[in-house]
Amino acid sequence: MATLEIHDLHVSVEGESGPREILRGVDLTVKQGETHAIMGPNGSGKSTLAYSLAGHPKYTVTGGSVTLDGEDVLAMSVDERARAGLFLAMQYPVEVPGVSVSNFLRTSATAVRGEAPRLRTWVKEVKEAMERLEMDPAFAERNVNEGFSGGEKKRHEILQLELLKPKVAILDETDSGLDIDALRIVSEGVNRVRETGEVGTLLITHYTRILRYITPDHVHVFAAGRVVESGGPELADKLESEGYEQYTKGGAS
């Protein structure tokens, strides 16, 4: 069973006045089939955790370890991490001019699966996945994220999640900028992937509303660069009524 283990992770970014530490000792274990929600106020370092796990060059790991099934994730390049089974659904997916969605999906599926998917089954696979996410087939011929609405971008991220079938999926504020219908469609997509029991999910969010659609097994409160409290789904209800104030006042740092 695939397991992502984050141990005492410290991460800095280069600021105007030298490096600034954002993650200050994150401990977290995500097993295949589990869903963990990471909730926290703005600026607590949630997105930094997501991008650091994916290997974004802006972030420098200064301490700790991340392993996927015992393999050192931090030693891997960005593409190696993805091929090892990590997936990051981004909060702000990037436009890639000149590259069509269909070409992009096929290239990434080929890279992640280690061989080109057979054309006939692939076309069907993409078509069905797009239908489930209520995406127009014409979407496949558009350039990646170019001119996409917020909702289209997030559906496109979840489409990739469904097609790439990672071991661990990190969803970074996938709910932000979605109207209620898009939130439902996207959540259903995530749930389909979860129901396979094949993926461990790290759901990063500021708000509890996505948790009405996706029920987590574990909820972690993130503040000042680390996990400050962990519990079951009931912790989300508590956050809903009480907010993050108790974790931020007095300066958890």
């Binding site: 593409d79 993805a82 997916p93 990037v94 890639v96 992009f104 990434s108 350039n143 990646v144």
Partner: protein
């Protein structure tokens, strides 16, 4: 007439307008009419003169050799003529010292004639393979009225090459010209393409520049009668240390003509330098003109440089449309990260982006076997240069 002069006077080329006067000397068949460039002239300011290795100052002797293979379908005649032949120098006069040097130095011109009303299903191919040293060439493509033809010129090998290529496009003819610069990394190639488009004729040019140390092409179009159409496409991939320069002039000399220019280039590596200059002139008499020119560049790595200069001069307001666009974008780290985060290795990610960038242009060409060949060429180039 000076040595190397053509018939002259028969054809109006860009004369006294602003675009023409930006050249440091008026057009001439005679190299002696052009001072040796020093590099600060408008038409030379982007070009590293020392890398022309004497083509520009008369020191490159015509002692090299180039192998020429011509494949022409039945009905097409290929002849070798002297400079006194009336077809030589008719489509345009050399506009800079290099073209004049080529005109003054070539021994025999090749004239490829496509008879009127011939509709050719197979292309005419010229394969030029440089075998080292300097050579000077002159080629005339004479396409008769209402003929349809695809002309393909491939350049490979090494050496210094300066040439003029002329196109006399007869009334109602349809010509597609593909020029591929796939030289070895040491080659230097400078060429003026002079195109004279007849009434209601259409000329499509596809220039593909990958190779060479320095390639400097100068496609120039003018219209002999109304209703003509010019589509000028270009694609270049400029890597480490290469200099690729494309200077276009579309001279709208007749009414109701249309022109469309679209050049796209990708650059990578230290000191890769691409220059694109697009001049469009709409003469007083060229009412009803519709023109657009576009240049897009994609810079893949640090250290590469692009100069992109569109110019539009309009001498009449009675036109359908005139516009231009020029943009240079970087392949951003964020784009690279996004693609790599989907398992795609960095080199493959770059290839994917460049392929997509060029595909948009290739799809516009509208000649399927040319498109296929270009895509294959782009693929091969990408495999070789982005590893």
């Amino acid at each position: 007439m000076p040595a190397g002069a053509g018939p002259g006077g028969a054809v109006a080329v860009a004369g006294e307008s602003g675009v023409a006067t930006r050249m440091s000397a008026p057009p001439s068949y005679d190299v002696a009419d052009f001072p040796v460039p020093h590099g600060r002239e408008e038409e030379w300011r982007f070009t590293p003169l020392e890398r022309l290795r004497g083509l520009h100052d008369g020191t490159a002797a015509a002692a090299g050799s180039i192998k020429v293979d011509v494949t022409a379908p039945e009905g097409v005649t290929v002849t070798t003529v002297g400079r006194e032949d009336p077809r030589v120098g008719k489509a345009g006069v050399p506009v800079d010292r290099l073209a004049a040097q080529a005109y003054s130095s070539f021994e025999k011109a090749t004239v490829v004639s496509v008879p009127a009303e011939a509709v050719l299903t197979e292309p005419v191919r010229l394969a030029l393979h440089g075998e080292g040293g300097a050579t000077f060439g002159h080629t005339v493509f004479e396409v008769g009225a209402f003929a349809e033809v695809v002309l393909v010129v491939d350049h490979t090998g090494e050496g210094l090459r300066a040439a003029n290529v002329e196109f006399l496009v007869g009334e109602g003819a349809k010509v597609t010209f593909v020029s591929v610069q796939d030289w070895a990394d040491t080659a230097v190639h400078c060429s003026q393409h002079s195109v004279l488009i007849g009434r209601n004729a259409s000329f499509k040019s596809v220039v593909v520049t990958f190779g060479g140390d320095l390639v400097r092409l100068h496609p120039r179009v003018s219209f002999a009668g109304p209703g003509g159409e010019a589509e000028m496409y270009g694609l270049y991939f400029t890597a480490d240390g290469q200099h690729h320069e494309h200077r276009l002039v579309i001279d709208h000399t007749a009414p109701n003509c249309r022109s469309n220019v679209a050049y796209k280039g990708a650059l990578q590596g230290e000191r890769a330098h691409a220059v694109w200059v697009g001049d469009v002139v709409i003469r007083t008499q060229a009412t009803g003109t519709d023109t657009y020119e576009l240049n897009r560049n994609l810079v893949l790595t640090d250290g590469a440089r692009v100069d992109s200069v569109p110019n539009l001069e309009i001498e009449t307001g009675e036109i359908v449309g005139a516009g231009h666009a020029s943009a240079t974008g970087r392949f951003e780290d964020e784009q690279l990260f996004y693609l790599m985060a989907r398992g795609i290795p960095a080199a493959e990610a770059r290839r994917l982006v460049v392929r997509g960038f060029f595909a948009e242009l290739v799809q516009q060409i509208g000649v399927s076997d040319v498109e296929e060949r270009l895509i294959a060429k782009v693929e091969a180039e990408l495999e070789a240069s982005i590893a």
